[in-house]
């Protein structure tokens, strides 16, 4: 752990705040992500989890604060946003697969257009990661022809094709039927084992406890508690955390 501390965090969020008009969604968020971290962000709906995640790849523009990627602030205007986003993947709650493309097209388009790879190379990459999520046989299918779980696995493959340094998950299983949640979590579990750096906003507490290296509990736009999964789930200090978790256990 000592040598982990000395390295520059791959992603560092400093004093991040975000307001929509007069409504403060995020207040003074501070946390760091090291390589191979799996950070799960938990908290009630409306606590700012998703907004925070969307700030990290600038789908939302923070009101103030800094986000450092390998030590460089991504919020300055000189920063090349498109290159940065290619390094930071995102998986959405509603999958957002491109409806006008097949599964293969969805996985190749980023490699072709953004990474400027050749047809053959992009194809090989797409197949490699579709194989990993178990969706390679479906390359000719259109997104609308797949189940939610299948779509989400393709969306994960689409993000992996970019070979990102960090992968962000915004409630990846919240839009899925219960029987499909398992297949997506299984894929994510494998990725965590392989050492991919991930930040996951989730309501799957068992999963969070299992795979994460660190858990962040957010409440009303601030980080109320942060620690190892054991600390947060077995011995939460903040009364808000205790209340939130006890509600989950009751359910």
């Amino acid at each position: 752990m000592a040598e982990m501390k000395t390295q520059v965090p791959i992603l560092q969020v400093k004093h991040l705040s975000k307001s929509f008009g007069n409504h403060r969604v995020l207040q003074d968020i501070d946390f760091a992500t090291n390589r191979q971290d799996v950070i799960c962000i938990i908290g009630a709906s409306g606590s700012g989890k998703s907004t925070m995640l969307r700030c990290i790849n600038r789908l939302e523009i923070p009101t103030s604060g800094e986000i450092l990627f390998n030590g460089r602030n991504i919020l300055t205007s000189q920063f090349n946003l498109h290159t940065y986003r290619a390094h930071v993947g995102m998986v959405f709650q509603s999958f957002n697969l491109f409806h006008n493309m097949t599964v293969l097209g969805n996985c190749m388009v980023g490699a072709r257009k953004v990474l400027k790879k050749g047809q053959e190379e992009a194809y090989t990459l797409a197949i490699k990661y579709l194989e990993k999520v178990g969706m390679a046989p479906y390359i000719h299918a259109k997104p609308a022809q797949l189940s939610g779980g299948q779509q989400q696995r393709v969306a994960i493959a689409r993000a992996l094709v970019m070979e990102p340094d960090v992968l962000l998950f915004d409630e990846p299983t919240s839009a899925l039927d219960p029987q499909m949640v398992g297949e997506v979590l299984e894929v994510m579990r494998d990725l965590a084992k392989e050492g991919l750096t991930m930040i996951i906003v989730t309501h799957e507490m068992a999963f969070a406890k299992d795979v994460s290296t660190r858990v962040i509990f957010m409440d009303q736009g601030i980080i109320a508690e942060e620690g190892t999964p054991e600390m947060i789930f077995d011995n939460p200090q903040n009364p808000r955390t205790q209340e939130f978790l006890s509600r989950f256990i009751r359910n």
């Binding site: 790849n57 789908l59 498109h82 290159t83 940065y84 986003r85 290619a86 993947g89 995102m90 959405f92 509603s94 957002n96 697969l97 491109f98 409806h99 006008n100 493309m101 097949t102 293969l104 097209g105 388009v109 980023g110 257009k113 953004v114 047809q119 053959e120 194809y123 197949i127 579709l130 194989e131 390679a136 046989p137 479906y138 390359i139 000719h140 299918a141 259109k142 022809q145 969306a155 689409r158 993000a159 970019m162």
Partner: protein, 269 residues
Amino acid sequence: MNAPVTFMDWVVFLLKKYGTYFLQGCETTLILALIGTFFGCIIGLLVGVLRTIPKPGRDKNIFIKALYKILQFLLLAYIEIFRGTPMMVQAMVLFYGSMQLFNINMTPLFAGFFVVSVNTGAYMAETVRGGIESVDKGQTEAAEAIGMTHWQTMTSVILPQTFRNILPQIGNNLIINIKDTSVLNVISVTELYFNGKSAAGVYYRYFETYFIISVFYFIMTFICARLLRWIEHKIDGSDYYQLADPMNDPSGTLPDKKKTKGVMRAWLR
């Protein structure tokens, strides 16, 4: 040949006498409608895309903000003026106005192409704008999240979906244009209605002549409607998909390079 007496006699008589003349009219009508709709779509696409450019943020300088305002004003003025006046009147104003004011002597057919294109463009601009705005915001976010530029997002993701969504409306416009080019008879474009009117006047057989003309119009619109449905079907592709085994059998799974170009590529894949 005996003089025609009944309705059917007259129809046959007029068809024999003016059949080719009517067909020539059909040809002009179709060419006007097709080319007018085509250029109208291109104008509409351009204007529609420009209309969806987001308002420049507060940090942009005053020059960009002013440019944006002027552009949006001009585009809106174009749409409102050409949607808000009859195509027949536009044809008259353009044809006689260009002659009187600028001494440009354009052929009626050219004026016809111009008026139909610009008119269709005004309607299509709003259709395209609606089409772009109706594509789920998540599509844009997903494209941006993998690092695509605004231009790449537009050409690979948004516009192909927009195009598919507005295809029925493009078909509508084509059919409307086939019928509405008839108003161009006021500037003596020799399209179907104009030819019909000329033929009707010779024997004073208005009912029979316009009956024939209406059948011709219907045949043209009906065939176009069928063709457009067929194109929609082609774009949608198969209802089924074949499972593949790309690890063991890589043949035939790469998209065909020859038929995949530009925007086309995105929906053929």
